[in-house]
């Protein structure tokens, strides 16, 4: 590598200071990477559990709606679905994990009562109610899983970026600076030897 640096004492002092700063930054970034990774691992195990629960709830909900369709008829289930007046909503708020802004998802109106379903107490069916309950439960789980998934994705992006920065500092920036430092030191020593030799020659004359 061609070193385009001035072999002066002030440059050496500056370089030493910059190496120290870079090493501090490198240590901090390493701590951040490890912290993020720890957070990620904890969330990941929760996410795996949530995913398994989601699949199980989905199977139960599908079973419930199939049963309702078989007993009450597809048309009755469809008309019950059209009559419903309660609509689930989600609110996404920002949350901070070690400097990473992650979304915090909060659901509202996720579950509905028999009265919200617009069918009345007499006109309704227990099977359709059960199917609706199953899907309300599924939506609750979906909201939770969506929050965790979005958080994991953000953490993953940040871990990857931090990992790249740490690697760049460890294998490129710091070694290059150290190389420049040793180049200046060697050059200064050489200049000093030349100066001593010149003085000796001058003295002998």
């Amino acid at each position: 590598m061609a070193l385009d640096i001035k072999p002066t004492r002030s440059e050496l002092i500056n370089l030493k200071r910059r190496i120290k700063q870079t090493q501090n930054g490198y240590n901090l970034l390493k701590l951040k990477r490890d912290g993020l990774f720890h957070e990620f691992r904890m969330l990941l195990s929760e996410m795996i559990e949530a995913r398994e629960g989601l699949v199980q709830t989905y199977r139960e909900a599908v079973q419930g709606i199939s049963l309702a369709g078989a007993i009450e008829g597809g048309l009755a289930v469809k008309s019950a679905a059209i009559a419903i007046s309660n609509h689930p909503e989600v609110e996404v708020k920002p949350r901070n994990i070690m400097g990473v802004v992650v979304p915090s998802v909060e659901g509202s109106n996720l579950t509905s009562t028999i009265m919200d379903r617009g069918m009345g107490l007499i006109g309704g069916s227990a099977y359709i109610d059960e199917a609706a309950d199953g899907y309300s439960k599924l939506i609750e789980r979906i909201v939770k899983a969506a929050e965790m998934e979005a958080t994991l994705k953000r953490l993953l992006v940040e871990i990857e970026a931090t990992k790249r920065r740490v690697n760049a500092l460890e294998f490129k920036v710091i070694p290059e600076m150290k190389e420049a430092q040793s180049f200046i030191q060697l050059r200064l020593e050489e200049m000093e030897r030349e100066e001593t030799f010149r003085l000796k020659r001058f003295k002998n004359k």
């Binding site: 709606i65 289930v77 679905a81 419903i84 989600v90 996404v92 599924l138 939506i139 998934e149």
Partner: protein, 99 residues
């Protein structure tokens, strides 16, 4: 923000029963891809629920866009397992931690 559900009418019926109003029934792979692209740009949608069997019908590019999207977050559910997050972890960290 709302929840949107994409899939066959049979898949979305249960969600309609739970009160979800944003239901999409695309027919064919192209229509599915267009619907997903459209939903990814909508600001009022917080979560998109997709039949995980449909995820395999999408192109790799769109799948990676879905995997990276945070708002809306796309969740594949169904009897087939949704591996998008698992694949993202594998490509980002180089190890399969989903165990």
């Amino acid at each position: 923000m709302e929840i949107a559900v994409v899939g066959t009418p049979e898949f979305t019926l249960g969600f309609q029963l739970a009160g979800v109003t944003h239901l999409y029934h695309p027919e064919g792979d192209e229509a599915l891809a267009d619907t997903m692209r459209n939903l990814l740009t909508q600001k009022d949608i917080g979560i998109v629920v997709l039949d995980s069997a449909n995820l395999t019908l999408l192109s790799d590019r769109l799948r990676s866009r879905i995997a990276d999207s945070i708002t809306p977050t796309v969740l594949g559910i169904g009897t087939e397992e949704d591996n998008t997050l698992r694949e993202s972890i594998k490509s980002a960290l180089g190890v399969d931690l989903w165990k």
